[in-house]
Every structure is written in structure tokens, then in C-alpha cells.
């Protein structure tokens, strides 16, 4: 591996190891602080929920736990309105549906889902460390410094302790990346299939992983000279190497196997709520997506024109996140490619809320330490300020709409979402620019 790409952050201060550096020398301080942070948030949340009409707990958590309660009674999780997830999530939260009759125990049991999400955060952080050590040849201390961007991030800790399941996605994606890097194809395939079953969007990682898994990378040596005459055909045959075929077969089997089981158990509601809902939803309520205003307009007047933006909106999104980005970046830097793909997927999505940001945030520590944003602090501050400012503008306009009842759809929210979109595109451009080839 190339030592030149080692993080700039690893250049420790010249003086004796500061308290800052020694914090990362051993794993314990970091993971203990990360766990403590979440514990404090969790307990604070319990206090707020018990004492205030404004709840700390995310509404989604009530959806999950209600669904788990249905499952515990032998019913379908889809009995709960707006449960739009795989039954696996409700199964995982089954302990939250138990009651002992003792109030304190019941609160503890009910909070187990949040504990699970918080533990998932920690495991994702630990996997981050492993990936950094393996893929970028970092020493463990430096890797932990990067992983701290995730582990000690108060936003991440808040989201998981409020009971949002996005943290589970974080651990799945990181485990997938780690398994791929470690050439554990079967494990990677199962994780990929499960991830797509869980939340659909991880399918964008499939082309990147497939593209990355060439023979050289997998340590199977150079392609054997083929008898075929055309170099095109040669390449095509070489493309279908056993690793790629194994990955495709096992991940597809996992995905369809899980779906078949769920369909047998819960029937059409499983398909309707977990997958078809995302096709048929009209996404008219205000959100960060650049398409939002347009979609609201189109949903109210369904037949104004023939070629409509919303029906072709998936094209740039999928072209970038599934084809162009992985094609150019995956072989050079798989983690960075996955980050750029996720960033493109979220930025170009027809619906975008702040919980989606978590999807790329888990991949950020793999890129940030050697990014031009951290190498040139002013550059990084500019990006951060622009990202926060355009988002803030949108939030301010959204507040006026939602709470003051002002019609800020046009031009306020629309321009703010387009501004935020362009800032995201610019940041994505920088991320892409930063990717440099690494030797295998």
C-alpha cells in the first residue's frame, strides 16, 4: 500500500505526545467516551420524555416499537401505519415490546432499541478503524483519530439515541466495506444482499464493489491469455471472474431469499410498504431535494406536460451513483467511491431529509483526513459554511412555512433547495477531484 496517502492528521505535533494524542493511543479512552456520550444522551432523553410534552424520542422509534408490539402479538408489523421497513427491524426490537409490570424495567426494555442503535454506532466506529488500518495502512492511533469524527460526533449520537435506525445502516455499510477489503466475499455478499433488503439504497455499492474486484486485486494474478480474438470479448470474459460471480450470486440469493421469506410471512403488505411505497410516493411535502417544489406542482396537476422532470429524475441520480462514479473511482479508492456515490445518491434524490445525511457521514472519516478540505483549512471552512448556510436558509424558510404559515414555497424554499443542491454538487466535485489512484 501507498504510504504517501497516509492521513495528514497522523502528523503528530513535534513535542512530546500531548493529551490529545495519547487519547487515541489506546482504544479504551475513545470507545469509552463514545459510549459515555451515548449513555448521557440516552438518559437525558429518558428524562426529557418523562418530564416534557416535547419528546426527545424520534417519532420513527414509536413506529418501530409499535410494529414490534404487533409482531410480539403474532401480528404483522405492517399493522402499524407508516411502518415502511423490513420486518427484521421489528424483530430486532422485539424486546422493547415486553412488559414486566415494573415501570422502571419497562422503560429500560423499551429503550433497548436505542441501546442497539447506539451499540451499532460504536461497532460502525470500530469497523471504521479496522478499514482505515487495512485500506489506508494507517497506524491504529491515527485511524482512531479519524474514526472519532463518527464516534464522538454529537449529531450521530443524538440520532441513534433518539431511536433512528440509520445507525444500523452505518454498521452494515461499514461491515460491507470491511468484508470487501478483507476479501471475505461470502460475508460481503450476504451483507450487501441484506443491506439492500434493509434499506434499498446500498444497491449503489454493488457496481463499485464488482468493479473493484478484478483478478489482480483479488490476488488471482494476471488474466490468463484468452483464445478469443477480439480484445473486447477478451475483456468481457475476464470481467466475469469467479469472485464477481460469487458476489452476484450470493448477494442476489440473500436479497431474494429474505424477500421471499418476508413475503411468505407477511404477504403483499410487505412488498407494498417496504418497496412499492417508495415508487408510488409523491414526495410533495417540503424537503431538501431540488425536485421538491416541482414534485408538489406536478402532483397537483398530473397532466400538464408530457416529459416531466420527476419521471426522469432518477436518471442523473443513478447515472452518477451506479455507473459513472464507481466506474472512474472504485478501482482507485473504494471507500472514497462509496462516499461519492452515497453523496450523489442523496443529493440527487427525489426526497431528501437530514437523516439521509447520516448515510454518507459514516463514510466521511475514510476520506476527510486526506481531503483537500482538511489540508487547506480555509477551503474546508468555506465548504462547511456553505453547506450549513444553504441548509440554514432552507430551514429558516421551512420554519416560516411550517410554523408561521407563510407561503415560502416560491421562491424561498425552492431557491434554498437549489442552492443547497449546488453546494452539495460542488463538494462532491471536490471529493471526486481528491481521489487519487493507489497501487493495489
Amino acid at each position: 500500500m501507498d504510504k504517501a496517502t497516509v492521513s495528514a492528521g497522523s502528523k503528530a505535533p513535534s513535542s512530546a505526545p500531548s493529551r490529545f494524542t495519547s487519547f487515541f493511543q489506546r482504544p479504551f479512552p475513545l470507545y469509552f467516551s463514545a459510549a459515555l456520550l451515548r449513555l448521557v444522551f440516552l438518559l437525558y432523553g429518558l428524562w426529557q420524555d418523562a418530564n416534557s410534552a416535547v419528546k426527545y424520542t424520534d417519532i420513527d422509534y414509536l413506529v418501530f416499537t409499535d410494529a414490534a408490539r404487533f409482531v410480539s402479538r403474532g401480528q404483522s408489523p405492517y399493522e402499524r401505519e407508516t411502518y415502511r421497513y423490513t420486518p427484521v427491524l421489528a424483530w430486532l426490537l422485539l424486546p422493547t415490546a415486553r412488559t414486566t409490570g415494573h415501570a422502571l424495567w419497562d422503560v429500560a426494555l423499551f429503550s433497548l432499541g436505542k441501546v442497539l442503535f447506539a451499540v451499532a454506532d460504536l461497532v460502525a466506529g470500530w469497523l471504521l478503524e479496522r478499514v482505515l488500518v487495512r485500506a489506508q495502512s494507517m497506524d491504529a492511533a491515527t485511524a482512531r483519530k479519524s474514526a472519532a469524527i463518527w464516534l464522538l460526533n454529537p449529531m450521530v449520537a443524538t440520532i441513534s439515541t433518539r431511536g433512528s435506525s440509520e445507525g444500523l445502516l452505518g454498521v452494515l455499510v461499514m461491515a460491507l466495506l470491511w468484508a470487501v477489503m478483507a476479501r471475505r466475499i461470502t460475508l460481503a455478499s450476504v451483507l450487501l444482499g441484506f443491506g439492500v433488503h434493509f434499506k434499498i439504497y446500498p444497491f449503489i455499492y454493488a457496481p463499485a464493489i464488482v468493479w473493484w474486484m478484478d483478478r489482480e486485486r483479488m490476488g488471482a494474478g494476471e488474466t490468463r491469455p484468452s483464445t478469443a480474438k477480439s480484445p473486447w470479448l477478451n475483456n468481457l470474459i475476464a470481467f466475469f471472474n469467479p469472485f464477481r460471480i460469487q458476489l452476484a450470486a450470493i448477494s442476489l440469493a440473500t436479497f431474494f431469499g429474505l424477500n421471499s421469506v418476508m413475503f411468505i410471512l407477511y404477504g403483499p403488505p410487505f412488498l407494498t410498504h417496504t418497496y412499492l411505497h417508495h415508487v408510488s410516493r409523491i414526495d410533495h411535502r417540503h424537503n431538501f431535494s431540488p425536485y421538491n417544489t416541482q414534485l408538489y406542482l406536478a402532483s397537483a396537476f398530473p397532466s400538464t406536460s408530457k416529459l416531466r422532470v420527476e419521471s426522469v429524475a432518477f436518471l442523473p441520480q443513478l447515472a452518477l451513483s451506479c455507473v459513472l462514479v464507481p466506474l472512474v473511482l472504485a478501482k482507485k479508492d473504494l471507500p472514497a467511491s462509496m462516499l461519492a456515490q452515497t453523496f450523489a445518491f442523496v443529493t440527487f434524490n427525489k426526497v431528501c431529509t437530514s437523516q439521509y445525511f447520516l448515510w454518507y457521514m459514516v463514510l466521511l472519516p475514510l476520506y476527510l483526513p486526506r481531503s483537500s478540505f482538511l489540508q487547506d483549512k480555509r477551503w474546508g471552512m468555506t465548504a462547511l459554511v456553505l453547506w450549513v448556510a444553504t441548509q440554514g436558509t432552507w430551514l429558516q424558510q421551512g420554519y416560516e412555512l411550517e410554523f408561521l404559515g407563510r407561503s415560502t414555497f416560491l421562491p424561498g424554499l425552492w431557491l434554498a433547495s437549489l442552492g443547497f443542491f449546488l453546494v452539495n454538487c460542488w463538494i462532491l466535485g471536490v471529493i471526486i477531484d481528491d481521489v487519487q489512484g493507489q497501487s493495489v
Partner: protein, 511 residues
């Protein structure tokens, strides 16, 4: 066909029999301050053919219209509903009615915007279906009913129908067990002459009554006394006096409703109640009475039952519990894609604790203190319009103290003994049999914009169509710009290092 005309005056306002003149089929008397109720019972086979066909395939159909104008009720005509058109429908065995029902309702009442009962109606307990729509007046009904109910050129009949424009409510009720359609109109408490005539072939009974409190009156009963006359049959009115248990009583307090400002997309309906005093109890357990609000919300505004399930949150709004809501309610869809009419909500209110615990009988001692309860609601997105805002109107709820019968053998209160009973209101299905509803009188809110009606207006922000010209092109252009920028950046990396792992390519180039 049978007709019953009743004037009900307040306690003490009785009329001497000598003040009433009966001349053949006509009765007349002085002006009285009273509520007038006209009830027409039409056997099924005397109805227009298409209506007959519809009703023969129906088990029950109760259509109740309530005026948005505030009105004073008099015992026993006290049952209240939110203003608008309420329909409770129980289809017959072979349901052939559900699809033409909406069309028939539209023919009768005019602007009824439901498609079919299957799509637009919502379910209530006991297989009943419910529909509600705001309807400000009966002008279309009057136009529809004139040729159906009045013989040609019968001026007095036409005038009576015309007077429905001042009515406070109109009930049209069909129950297959009675084989008859019952039309009941009530005019508000006001000064009016005692005047009625019989028509050919119709038995008309006129009652000039007032509420009474005979010595033998049980606490769960109400008393009525006055004069009864069957037109064309009696030469003089016969005095009468009777008592009966009533499900609908007067709580002797009032409320107003208004939205807290600013409404935003999550308006809160605030109820201001004039008194926290519970109604007198018939038995030893006063705690079985609690105040409720029954809302019929058009599809533009809805409750979130999950939000209304947290005890702390409810307590902060002076609510005890969400007792009922239409299910399922789509929490996300815009109003313009929903086929259902809207949703019914029954919430139990939490009066200030001191009042609820106050002992019986000390009511005079306790001052009437106004208190409020807040019902958080949510707006749906409405279709874009020029100007960026659309107004919706939300009817007042019906507010009442519901006293549920206790197991300990209190007085049994059934509808059957009450000649003025009004059932099938919607909320009565949500309480156990024998519940007594003590109605709180709605008063228009003093805030601007209420126009003195029992409805509240909410301005809903919508996308301003006047500014929408650039949305399609602008969105497409910006997305393409962003896309092009990223492709350009990718192309840069490609040119620099190819699509492979990069370093290999670069080394090859160097060689």
C-alpha cells in the same frame, strides 16, 4: 303521511288554552318565544320511486344537517352536532346503494362532493358508515323538496319549505324496521306566532308545550306540559303533562372555539369553556362524567393519533385522552389525492382538577372559571393556487359532558320513552348504551373572521401559482448544471488516471 308540529317554550312560559283558536283544520295563537319542531313521517310507498328503490336496499340512513348559525336550544331539543351535513349509513344485505348514494345526496342537498360511499365514507362502530361535509344552507334542498312535498300552487306549503332557510337543523332519517322516512326540522328559539294548518290526507298533531318541573320529577327525567291538538279532529286543545328520561340535557354552560395564531401547518384548535362544573349526577359516582369534544374534520385538516397518545403531551393541552378517531388516517397524503371525506375525532377533555373534585351540591359555592383545552391538528398540502394561500373552514366541534351509566344500577336511560329523542348522531355510537350527553352551547368566537358563525377559517399556505412559471425549467437547468459539473470532475480524474486503479495507469504512462 303524518305530521307533528311542536312549539316548546321555556319553563314557566305556558299558554292559556283560551288564547288558542281552532278553526277547522287551522290552529292559531299569539306569538310565543319558542323552539319549533316539525316532524313529517312519510311511509316508504308514498316516496318518489327512485328514493324508494334506494331506501329499500338500505338498512339505515340518517342524514342530519345543522346550521352554522348559532342557536339556542331548549330542553328536550338539545342534541347537538358540528354544523354541516352528517350522514350515517348502514347498507342493506346486498349493497347496491353505496355507489348511487352520493349522487342521490347531491341531487337532494346540492354541493355534495363525494364520489361513491365505498370510497368517500369512513367506518363507525357497528357496521355504520359515516360521511360529513360542510353545507352552509338548505337552499338546494328547498328547491329539491318543493315539487316532491307540496302540491302544485299550495302557497302555504311552499312557504313552509321556504322557511327551512331559517331552520337550525334538518334530520332525514330512514330505518328499515319502521318502513318510513322521518323528516324533522327544528327552528331556533325565537318569537314566532303559533300557526299551523292541516293538509288533506295528512294527520297533523300540534303541541304547544313548555318545559316543566313537576314535584315527582326524578333527577334523570325531564318534564313537559302544555296543550295537544289533532287538527281537524279536536275542537279544543287537550292539556297534557309527561315526564321521560332524556339522553340529551343542557349543561348550562357555553364554549367557543378558535385556532391559535399563527396556525402554520399545524394549527391548534383552542376550546374555551365557560365552566368546569360537571353536570349533576343521578348516582353517587360523579367521576363517571367527563367533558368531550366531537370533531368532524374535513380532509384538509387531520389529527395525528400517535401525537395524541402521550399522557404528558395530552395533559399539557388539557386533554385526557383521544377516545376515538377514524382509522386509518393517511398522515402524509395531500388533500387533493384523498377520496375520504375526512375524519371524526372524539377527545376527552381534562377540566381543571379543583372543579372535577368539587363535591356535589356545592355548585353554587364554586365560581365559574373559564378554562381552555387545545386540540393539536395538522394541515394537508392543498393544491397550488394563485396568491399562495387557500382558506379552509373548520366546523365547531360538539362539546358535551358524557355521563356513562355506572354498573351499580343507576336509572336506565333509554331512547324509547322520549318522543323527542335524537339518535344516530355519530358520537352516541362511541359511548355505552344509556350514556347521557350534557350539551355545552357553542358560541361564535369573538375573534375576527368568524362572521358570527360556528366555523373557523384557516389560511393554508400553498405554492403560489403566479410564481411557478420558472419551476420546471429552473429545476431542470440547475439539476443539469450540477450533473454536468460532477461529470466534468469525473472526466478530469479519468483523463488524469483512467478508469483503472490509477497508479498503474500513471506508471504505464511514465514508461
Amino acid at each position: 303521511m303524518r305530521e307533528r308540529i311542536t312549539f316548546v317554550q321555556n319553563l314557566g312560559d305556558s299558554l292559556e288554552p283560551s288564547a288558542i283558536k281552532i278553526n277547522g283544520g287551522t290552529i292559531s295563537g299569539p306569538e310565543v318565544q319558542a323552539v319549533r319542531e316539525d316532524r313529517l313521517t312519510i311511509p316508504l310507498d308514498e316516496l318518489p320511486a327512485e328514493l324508494q328503490a334506494l331506501l329499500r336496499a338500505t338498512r339505515e340512513l340518517h342524514t342530519r344537517w345543522v346550521s352554522p348559525r348559532p342557536y339556542e336550544g331548549i330542553s328536550p331539543l338539545l342534541a347537538r352536532l358540528p354544523p354541516g351535513l352528517h350522514v350515517i349509513f348502514i347498507p342493506g344485505k346486498d349493497d347496491v346503494v353505496s355507489s348511487p348514494l352520493c349522487k342521490t345526496l347531491a341531487e337532494i342537498f346540492g354541493d355534495v362532493s363525494c364520489s361513491t360511499a365505498t370510497e368517500a365514507f369512513t367506518s363507525l362502530p357497528e357496521a355504520a358508515l359515516q360521511y360529513y361535509q360542510q353545507l352552509d344552507d338548505l337552499s338546494h334542498f328547498i328547491k329539491y323538496a318543493k315539487p316532491q312535498l307540496c302540491p302544485r300552487d299550495d302557497v302555504s306549503c311552499l312557504a313552509r319549505l321556504e322557511s327551512l332557510s331559517h331552520a337550525s337543523s334538518l334530520d332525514i332519517s330512514y330505518d328499515s324496521s319502521l318502513h318510513a322516512l322521518r323528516i324533522t326540522a327544528v327552528w331556533p328559539y325565537q318569537r314566532q306566532p303559533v300557526q299551523a294548518s292541516s293538509r288533506k290526507g295528512i294527520r297533523t298533531e300540534v303541541g304547544i308545550l313548555s318545559t316543566d318541573k313537576p314535584q315527582t320529577l326524578e333527577p334523570h327525567e325531564i318534564g313537559i306540559s302544555g296543550l295537544l291538538t289533532v287538527l281537524g279532529q279536536d275542537s279544543k286543545p287537550s292539556p297534557t303533562m309527561f315526564t321521560f328520561a332524556s339522553r340529551h340535557r343542557d349543561a348550562e354552560s357555553s364554549f367557543s372555539a378558535q385556532f391559535l395564531s399563527p396556525t402554520g401547518l399545524h394549527p391548534t384548535l383552542q376550546l374555551r369553556l365557560s365552566s368546569p362544573k360537571p353536570p349533576p349526577s343521578f348516582s353517587s359516582s360523579p367521576s363517571s362524567c367527563s367533558p368531550h369534544a366531537y370533531l368532524t374534520l374535513p380532509k384538509t385538516i387531520f389529527p395525528d393519533k400517535y401525537q395524541l397518545s402521550d399522557p404528558l403531551f395530552l395533559a399539557s393541552k388539557n386533554l385526557s385522552a383521544l377516545r376515538y378517531t377514524t382509522q386509518p388516517i393517511d398522515l402524509e397524503a395531500p388533500a387533493y389525492v384523498l377520496p375520504q371525506w375526512g375524519a371524526t375525532v372524539l377527545v376527552e377533555l381534562a377540566p381543571p382538577p379543583a372543579a372535577a373534585e368539587s363535591p356535589l351540591g356545592s355548585q353554587g359555592h364554586q365560581a365559574d372559571t373559564e378554562w381552555t383545552a387545545e386540540i393539536p391538528l395538522h394541515l394537508r398540502y392543498l393544491a397550488p393556487s394563485a396568491g399562495g394561500s387557500s382558506a379552509i373552514t373548520v366546523p365547531y366541534p360538539a362539546v358535551f359532558w358524557a355521563c356513562t351509566p355506572d354498573d351499580g344500577g343507576g336509572p336506565e336511560i333509554t331512547a324509547s320513552s322520549n318522543p323527542f329523542d335524537r339518535g344516530n348522531l355519530g358520537y352516541d355510537r362511541l359511548f355505552p348504551e344509556g350514556t347521557v350527553f350534557w350539551h355545552v352551547e357553542p358560541r361564535p368566537s369573538v375573534e375576527h373572521g368568524s362572521k358570527g358563525l360556528l366555523v373557523n377559517e384557516v389560511r393554508v399556505p400553498v405554492l403560489d401559482l403566479e410564481k411557478a412559471g420558472w419551476v420546471n425549467a429552473g429545476t431542470a437547468a440547475v439539476v443539469l448544471l450540477g450533473f454536468a459539473w460532477i461529470v466534468y470532475k469525473l472526466a478530469g480524474v479519468w483523463r488524469r488516471e483512467g478508469y483503472g486503479s490509477g497508479k498503474v495507469g500513471a506508471e504505464k504512462k511514465r514508461q
